[in-house]
Symmetry: C2
Subunit: 211 residues, 2 copies
Amino acid sequence: MAGSISEAVLRRLPRYYRYLNELEADHVMQISSKELAERMGLTASQIRQDINCSGGEGRQGFGYSVPKLRRHIGKVLGIQSKQNMIIIGAGNIGSAVALSDSFRTSNFYTVAIFDTDPQKIGKKIGALTVLDYKDVAAFLKRQPVHIAVLAVPFASGQSVVDRLHDLGVTAFWNFVPADLDIPDDATIVSVHLEEGLQILSYKMKESSQTF
Amino acid sequence: MAGSISEAVLRRLPRYYRYLNELEADHVMQISSKELAERMGLTASQIRQDINCSGGEGRQGFGYSVPKLRRHIGKVLGIQSKQNMIIIGAGNIGSAVALSDSFRTSNFYTVAIFDTDPQKIGKKIGALTVLDYKDVAAFLKRQPVHIAVLAVPFASGQSVVDRLHDLGVTAFWNFVPADLDIPDDATIVSVHLEEGLQILSYKMKESSQTF
């Protein structure tokens, strides 16, 4: 098993996983680092280095076994078995996460969605019914869940984190545009959607320049 | 002006921009690479290298001027002036983008949102009224816009890209979970939300291991 992976390699692993999934769906069973590089817009040596750093193995003159490498990366990412999550906030973001298929592909299943808004409580979002956030403690006592998606307004972010952590949640996928304080034993990944838009802006500018 | 920036540095620039904005809002006018490094969880030498690569300047013993560096990075990203965008798809993701404040902070303004669903056309989303997608050509003829947010179902992604490109859209911020083909003169940045969740999964696993 590989030890800790650098942040830069880690950030690329989900892309490898996605491409390998697509290859497998297309019945491609083996691939060279060169072909994978072309598909991903990286260099072959970077590919070999990344896979090597994450403990994956290829064979000279054969390349990589697509299903084996996909399973290996899935194991490194810890997504080889089913994980449950709850969503706090049944607004647009919370609903989009609840309704998306992309997360089930990675073995993440939403088991409940909570809100404080009486207009939203009781409403159906796909197969789920929006639950009252004041019942979150009772819910987690009955069915412990360690991952929460934070899709609440800015002002509520920190208090929701504090409460959920007291109830045993240790991993937060955060859509609140705030720097939230997380206890040492907990983990947070924040989504800053505007970063993608800024990168798009840079690329537009670059592609419009004549060299 | 700096030339092309490596993809790795580019990916970090929005984070610099965000932290510098926060510092400026807190009336912090200057900062050393060491302080910025602590705040961002990077090393001071990485900070100096990134800023140097993107053409920014600091002064020995003084550090960086926060407003000057923020403006510089904004200029590199091309977000110093207002840019209009349209959203295709008034579902949860499209609505979330239309309602978010985060994009206006980066000078991106949604001027219209389109859908094909008669149930959604005419509905209000914030200050916008959902327009009929069949009127998109007439709209863009009246008011050319070069950036489109793609928030349509999987099956419609490619045809929407093709149509909009014919109408002068050259930059796509893509939420459709598909590999879309983009003409050479166009730019695309795709959001793969599940990647964040996979990174969270890895970090949970790491933090639960005892060394």
